[in-house]
């Protein structure tokens, strides 16, 4: 009866958990892998300038406007004391900051979070054919000569554009007539446009930002878009390669400077790019919110970010506990306490595995020797525990200070070890040591560290983190598996060794 009951419970938990998971995955389109995390970017533009005298300042910054391949959400404007107006033009978007009085170095920030979008942006209008550039000789002749050479090396508009970008370079004598010896990227791109316009090909310069992990002082790149009659084609003017890389965000659809400052000197803009995990989760939230509002009201992704990141860790704990069940009841490893390995593994998250093991062993070994010394003083149980706890904290402090002096920064993260857990570990280990001998104590200690290491490896796997956070309902399936293992009556793997003498066939 109870067996059937259990199976029914396990089955219903599995069905509910797996069903919810399937629904969110297939119908709501939640990302099942963590890949989308790497495609989510935070872009920060830092606009700085100097205002020598006190007076009004007006700052106009071009903002990206539906860049192809990306979706923008959560824009932030950080500008203390400045008034802000957003201007939505036909082909561009701008933020205009203004302040009546400003003095000294000023910095404004614009921050946007971007994620890759599969949606194709609205088609940009087909442009009219451009008129040929009008020039005086010798430039007109030189341009004509360039166009002729490019035309010889090309078959259609796309190859013409690519050839133009290859030929227009300082290594080409004709091109050098226009560019001089050290042309800026913009000057080169402008000459390419003139060549293209001479062939009456619609083309213009755009500015784009390359997304690079953890870049601090990025700048916009000039790219060239060419219309081949049907579509806009993207070219890198430096080598004529075609196509927009996935990590390139079109910032502005023309070549004009993105930052204009009135009333101050030395305007400069730098870009920082990086990607973050939390933002990736909000992408999933945003995406689903647009289509299925009702479901999202009960979603973890609807919680405040700080709460979410707490649950990102908490949700891993049941998985760790499940591993403990496997390690203890199926494999048969003995550990200190039931769930101490989980807590140690959580501390490992901060210290990294190897350092964590070294620090943990160090503290427990030192604490153990202190504990043996305290044993001689014959203290009562609770005061002794408190004393060991204090010693553990002091030891942690000591390790941090010493390792800092030695320049080993990782020693600082020792403070993240759960000290009460360490105290209990020391106490338990010393009792096992005295009552069952050092061998047994070592066995349990090694078992604990081994289990913690296995759990740690599981916990830091981005796929696993992503999965439980986006699909917490799969924990119901884990719960079902735990319940099933609760009735597991087979041998533990270590028992196969323990009872090996009996395996020769019963008498």
């Amino acid at each position: 009866m109870s067996r059937r009951h259990l199976l029914a419970l396990v089955l219903s938990l599995t069905v509910v958990g797996a069903g919810l998971f399937w629904y969110k995955w297939q119908v709501l389109g939640f990302p099942v892998t963590a890949e989308r995390q790497t495609q989510t970017w935070t872009v920060e533009a830092r606009m700085s300038f100097n205002r020598a005298a006190t007076g009004p300042v007006k700052v106009t910054m071009r903002l990206p406007d539906s860049p192809p391949g990306f979706m923008i959400f959560d824009e932030q404007f950080i500008s203390r004391g400045y008034g802000l107006i957003l201007e939505d033009g036909q082909d561009s978007r701008s933020a205009i900051w203004a302040v009546r009085r400003a003095r000294g170095d000023q910095a404004l920030y614009y921050r946007a979070t971007l994620f890759h979008s599969r949606e194709t942006p609205a088609q940009r209008p087909t442009p009219p054919f451009p008129s040929r550039p009008v020039m005086e000789d010798p430039f007109a002749t030189a341009l004509e000569e360039l166009v002729t050479r490019v035309r010889q090396q090309s078959a259609d508009i796309a190859t013409f554009a690519a050839a133009a970008m290859r030929i227009v370079d300082v290594s080409d004598d004709t091109a050098r007539l226009f560019l001089g010896n050290r042309p800026s990227p913009l000057e080169r791109a402008q000459l390419v446009i003139q060549v293209l316009h001479s062939a009456r090909i619609p083309a213009h310069i755009i500015q784009a930002l390359r997304l690079v992990e953890d870049r601090r002082d990025g700048e916009l790149e000039y790219w060239i878009v060419v219309h081949n009659g049907d579509d806009w084609l993207y070219f890198d003017p430096r080598d004529g390669s075609r196509g927009l890389p996935a990590n390139l965000v079109v910032w502005s659809w023309d070549a004009a400077p993105v930052l204009e400052v009135e009333g101050a000197r030395g305007p400069s803009v730098t870009f920082a790019t990086r990607h973050t995990i939390e933002d990736a989760l909000r992408v999933a939230e945003l995406r689903t919110e647009r289509e299925h509002r009702r479901i999202m009201e009960f979603s973890l992704l609807d919680l405040p970010l700080s709460t979410q990141s707490m649950y990102a860790i908490l949700l891993l704990v049941p998985l760790g506990a499940f591993l403990v069940v496997l390690l203890r009841n199926v494999i048969g490893i003995s550990t200190f306490g039931t769930f101490m390995p989980v807590l140690v593994a959580m501390a490992f998250r901060e210290t990294r595995l190897l350092n964590g093991i070294v620090l943990f062993t160090l503290i427990v070994a030192l604490g153990l020797s202190i504990r043996f010394y305290l044993e001689r003083l014959r203290l009562l149980l609770v005061p002794r525990l408190a004393a060991v706890l204090t010693v553990v904290v002091l030891l942690m402090l000591l390790v941090s200070i010493v390792s800092h002096r030695l320049g080993i920064e990782i020693g600082l993260s020792i403070a993240l070890f759960p000290m009460v857990i360490m105290t209990m570990a020391i106490e338990r280990m010393s009792i096992v040591w005295e009552e069952r001998g050092p061998g047994e104590a070592m066995k349990e200690g090694v078992g604990t560290l081994l289990a913690a290491a296995v759990i740690y490896v599981l916990m830091i796997t981005p796929q696993v983190q992503h999965f439980v956070l986006v699909f917490p309902e799969t924990l119901l399936v884990v719960l079902a598996a735990m319940l099933l293992l609760g009735r597991y009556t087979g041998y533990r793997l270590t028992e196969l060794l323990r009872f090996r003498e009996l395996a020769g066939g019963g008498k």
Partner: protein, 323 residues
């Protein structure tokens, strides 16, 4: 290879910890009976009511305040045993063999002064040796003088008998022999060796030592272990069978010690007996259990159950027809 050994163990009827816990301890040992076996003071009380001889209780200490009363409890006795009432696996037991004024010699040969003894008692009272660390009591009881028949196969300490009693039927038995390594304690975890005993005849089999290796001779004395007959074997089996009436646990470990003067004495009952007894006997528990199962559920006196258990053992635990 793993799978083959798995099947071999299964065929031999070897019981694993998971099966013991799920199918036997949880199924046959009701929770509310645990206090009777976990608290050795209660065990003693109930055992006496059921006519099972136990080591005489001199007194007990429940609070640190009462430690000062210890000399009054031991009076002029030269030897005694301190035992935490909730101790598990032999933790916290101190055997005093001799006393000079304020100094106490343990069975392991260590000399304790009063301070050390008091410290041990306070630790025990505050729960250092009890399951879950709850406050404990300490019993002061008669020190067993082990029967001379085992003199040459135990190192100091007292060899004891561990009998697995399944639904009241003594099923499997081993003798645990203290060694130098186990500090005179009869605990396999601490290095004692275990020798299986034939239920039918009460005769010892070769022993199992540390690392589950077969040891024919006692590691300290060098005497042969196998082939000895346990004295008062009938009485031992009867006491074990009565342990079922005392504890009402269907899967029970009964620890009995043989005293030179007083014969077999019940030391303690165990609701979660270990599985090493299978190695000592080179036999699987489940094999024997399946032979007993057809008999279960019939009301029998302890004497009848002992007789049936011996009959089963004689038959090599082939299923027999219930009488």
């Amino acid at each position: 290879m793993i799978w083959r050994r798995w099947r071999a163990l299964n065929a031999a009827g070897v019981m694993g910890i998971n099966r013991r816990n799920a199918d036997f301890i949880m199924a046959l040992n009701p929770r509310q009976q645990y206090p009777v076996v976990d608290n050795k003071l209660l065990t003693k009380k109930f055992a006496v009511q059921h006519g099972i001889p136990v080591p005489e209780l001199y007194g007990s200490i429940a609070t640190p305040h009462e430690i000062r009363g210890l000399p009054a409890i031991i009076a002029d006795r030269q030897d005694f045993v301190l035992k935490p009432a909730h101790g598990s696996q032999g933790d916290g037991i101190v055997v005093i063999v001799q006393r000079h004024k304020d100094r106490y010699r343990t069975s392991g040969g260590r000399l304790l002064d009063w301070d050390e003894l008091e410290h041990h008692l306070t630790n025990a009272l505050s729960g250092q040796f009890s399951l879950g660390g709850q406050p404990d009591e300490v019993m002061i009881e008669y020190r067993v003088r082990f029967a001379p028949v085992f003199d040459d196969i135990s190192f100091q300490g007292v060899p004891d008998l561990r009998i697995i009693v399944y639904r009241g039927y003594p099923l499997m038995c081993m003798m645990r022999l203290p060694t130098r390594q186990s500090d005179g304690k009869a605990n396999l975890h601490q290095g004692a060796v275990g020798a299986g005993i034939d239920i039918a005849t009460g005769m010892t089999l070769p022993a199992v030592g540390p690392g589950n290796s077969i040891v024919a001779e006692h590691p300290d004395t060098g005497a042969m272990i196998a082939g000895r007959v346990i004295p008062d074997w009938d009485q031992v089996l009867l006491m074990a069978a009565r342990g079922y009436e005392v504890s009402k646990l269907g899967y029970l470990g009964v620890d009995i010690v043989l005293d030179a003067d007083r014969g077999p004495l019940l030391l303690e009952l165990n609701a979660r007996p270990g599985l090493n007894v299978q190695i000592a006997n080179q036999d699987g528990l489940r094999r024997r259990i399946s032979a007993v199962d057809p008999l279960a559920g019939q009301d029998r006196s302890p004497e009848e159950r002992v007789a049936l258990a011996r009959e089963l053992a004689l038959a090599g635990y082939q299923p027999i027809r219930a009488a």
